[in-house]
């Protein structure tokens, strides 16, 4: 297959999940197109195209940055003839494909009246470009997130004046795709001339050499050593690094909350009510990275540590609960923010929301704990919980819904804990291999 086409195809099929979604999307689209032809119904194919977009194209935009980096990083690939040029053509083709459904809508006579579809294409281009650039930069080095916080603050300050908001509304529709094109031009220019493209860094890792710089003073207790191995961080990590990490998480959250409640018109703020899905979902996402890392790092720990298996298991559980605790502390801070005059929420709502989010955190922690052999359970459990949170905890939900979800989360947490304990005792450890993203010994 032609190299450009092969690159283009890889953007849609690199991850196994993508291949599954591609199958589903194609089937969905095919069924609906067939239905349209057969039943003489009109507009069914549009649904098909929408499905294709949602299942295949949009997720691919999120994955594309990682795939682009992963393909561009290896030394051997730099020697492939016309490699960089072909990659750029491939990503261009990819973007065109993402915009294609909207172009189809535009061309279709029923929906294609007026400039609306063209504007939409412009917005989709801008959003997709932003997502690609954002993830591309972030995957290169996790620390770019600082720049994004800075940009958010700048935007917040800028948006606080009515004049700026007016200006934003006055920006012509073509400026957004125009900016996107400019971004692509800059990207192309950079890509063609840069010497090395760094490989994907999926999870925050301690900065290169952190372990080498650590001075292990005196004797290291078994507890400290286990903790270091399980969390992946050098045993003595105090002071600046910890403060900095906490600060950026807290900062992001505060900015988001304040931004929402100060700028959004009243009906939309309901999305950010303390009992909406945002907080339990956000808590689960916040805890995901570290919990998964801890569990993966601990998988072969039992084989390497003398002593009882249960002892190691308890240490792992403690690490997970410490992770949960830092998440809960953050939540307390947010609850305080909600009780403050800025948001002035009803105390009972805040309490209910806190319980909801805390149980969500507990659920995700023990779900991660139970997912020792593989990620399948984790993904499915996470997905199902997410779906029910979306469904039941929309902006205008009832106390009953909140209660139901809280109870389900709690029950789930207890069930997964029992499963985790059982698996720790029974799983065939020799069949497990450490997963690459959590290997802390990988070259600095």
């Amino acid at each position: 297959m032609n190299a450009v086409l092969r690159v283009w195809w890889t953007f849609f099929t690199a991850l196994p999940l993508q291949r599954l979604l591609l199958g589903l999307g194609a089937a969905w689209c095919g069924l609906l197109v067939l239905g349209e032809l057969v039943s003489d119904g009109e507009g069914l194919w549009i649904l098909g195209v929408v499905g294709l977009f949602v299942l295949v194209l949009f997720p691919a935009v999120f994955a594309s940055a990682a795939v682009f980096r992963a393909l561009s990083a290896p030394h051997a690939n730099q020697l492939l003839p016309h490699f960089r040029a072909r990659m750029l053509v491939g990503i261009t083709l990819f973007m065109v494909t993402v915009l294609a459904p909207f172009a189809l809508l535009f061309l279709n006579e029923r929906t294609g009246s007026g400039p609306m579809p063209l504007e939409i294409i412009g917005y989709v281009l801008a959003v997709s470009t932003a997502i690609f650039m954002w993830m591309f930069v972030m995957f290169g080095d996790w620390r770019w997130i600082w720049l994004s916080v800075a940009m958010l603050i700048v935007a917040w300050v800028g948006l606080s004046s009515g004049a700026t908001r007016g200006m934003l509304a006055a920006i012509p529709a073509w400026a957004w795709p125009g900016a996107a094109m400019l971004a692509w031009i800059v990207f192309f220019a950079w890509y063609v001339r840069t010497r090395r493209v760094r490989a994907v860094m999926f999870a925050p890792q301690p900065p290169a050499g952190a372990w080498a710089r650590t001075e292990l003073e005196g004797t290291l207790t078994r507890e400290l050593a286990l903790r270091a191995l399980v969390t992946g961080r050098p045993p003595v990590q105090k002071g600046r690094a910890l403060v900095v990490r906490t600060a950026w998480v807290a900062g992001n959250v505060v900015i988001m909350v304040l931004g929402a409640f100060l700028f959004l018109p009243a009906p939309l703020t309901q999305f950010f009510a303390f009992t909406s899905f945002v907080w339990p979902f956000g808590t689960m996402m916040l805890l995901w990275g570290h919990a998964t890392g801890i569990v993966h790092r601990s998988r072969l720990l039992w084989l390497r540590t003398p002593g009882s298996r249960d002892g190691v298991r308890r240490e792992v559980e403690h690490a997970l609960l410490r992770n949960l605790r830092s998440g809960l502390l953050l939540l307390v801070g947010v609850a305080a923010l909600y009780l403050s005059p800025v948001v002035a929420a009803v105390p009972q709502q805040v309490l209910a929301g806190f319980a909801l989010a805390a149980c969500a955190g507990l659920f995700s922690t023990y779900l991660a704990f139970a997912s020792v052999p593989g990620r399948a359970l984790h993904l499915i459990g996470f997905g199902l919980m997410m779906a029910s949170q979306f469904a039941l905890l929309g902006p205008f939900n009832s106390p009953l819904n909140v209660g139901i979800v809280t109870v389900v989360e709690l029950a789930g947490a207890l069930a997964f804990r029992a499963l985790a304990l059982r698996r720790w005792r029974r799983v065939d450890w020799l069949q497990l291999r450490p997963l690459p993203t959590s290997n802390m010994f990988r070259g600095a």
Binding site: L5, R6, V7, T13, A14, H75, A76, L79, P81, P436
Partner: protein, 292 residues
């Protein structure tokens, strides 16, 4: 003599205050199989990467197929195959996808060869790359470097994770490549026995300098260990010409010398008033002696 495929002149590379490469000059001619030998950290990987233009030298230049290594044309790149030390395979893909991507970029991909090798070497193609063992990944990476029949094959520790059977199979493939006298192979390895079988030339890298480069046979004939047995006690500071290491013990002395000429044996024996035994050294021993 044919034109060299690759030429390095005075290449120096500094990482901060550390000198990784120090005025390295070398040539690779068609038909060569060159083994690069050196301690960890001696600069082997840096050397190979600089030779292919992945790293800009602070001084000196590298020419590959007549072009500057830092600005190779697409045709020149197509004639090179590279296997880095750490495998950089995209973990989410499976072997088939990976090879499909690589082969799409090359117009002269030899499908028959790759299919044969996949079968011979038992390379699993349908499983995800991150579920393969280290050896299987290395084999896959080797295939990616071989498939387009490059004229210059540069391999950094190609067999470090392969079992002895796989290593033999790999060497056989190297010989098949070397049969074509227009192609050259440059590979670094710790496994000295493989080097002795395969290489006709050897580069020894020590502290960033190319300590020795030339034919392997010449190296073995040039570095020998002399066992001197004298009739009377030998002086402690015995001066053996071209000696790298000398050990004196009463009437006997053992000296490792470089640039040995067999004709010197008689003269030396007479000078020390005794007998002289010449012990030839295998490559591993030579390497150890050169690092004393």
């Amino acid at each position: 003599m044919a034109e060299p495929i690759m030429t390095a002149r005075d290449v120096t590379k500094l990482f901060g205050s550390k000198t990784a490469l120090d005025a390295v000059s070398a040539d690779v001619f068609p038909g060569d199989i060159i083994g690069v030998l050196g301690k960890n950290g001696a600069g082997k990987t840096t050397l190979l990467e600089t030779l292919l233009g992945f790293s800009t030298p602070n001084r000196g230049s590298v020419t590959v197929f007549g072009e500057d290594a830092l600005a190779m044309s697409a045709q020149t790149k197509a004639r090179i195959g590279f296997l880095p030390q750490l495998d950089e395979l995209f973990a989410m893909l499976n072997g088939k996808q990976h090879l499909a991507i690589v082969s799409a970029f090359h117009s002269n991909w030899d499908r028959a060869l790759i299919e044969r090798l996949v079968a011979e070497w038992s390379v699993p193609l349908t499983r995800r790359i991150d579920s393969l063992s280290v050896g299987e990944r290395q084999k896959l990476a080797v295939l990616s470097a071989l498939g387009h029949r490059p004229d210059l094959l540069v391999l950094d520790e190609p067999v470090a994770s392969l079992d002895p059977i796989a290593r033999r199979q790999f060497l056989q493939q190297l010989f098949a490549i070397a049969e074509d006298e227009d192609r050259a192979v440059l590979f670094s390895s710790h496994i000295v026995s493989d080097l002795e079988r395969a290489a006709n030339k050897v580069w020894i890298v020590k502290n960033g300098r190319l300590y020795w480069q030339g034919y392997l046979d010449a190296l073995k004939e040039s570095v020998v260990r002399l066992h001197i047995r004298a009739r009377s006690a030998l002086p402690r500071d015995i001066a053996v010409p071209n000696a790298l290491v000398t050990r004196v013990d009463g009437n006997t002395a053992i000296a490792t010398v470089a640039r040995w000429q067999p004709s010197e044996a008689a003269a030396l024996a007479q000078r020390f008033d005794g007998s002289l035994d010449v012990e030839s050294l295998g490559l591993e021993d030579i390497f150890l002696e050169l690092h004393r």
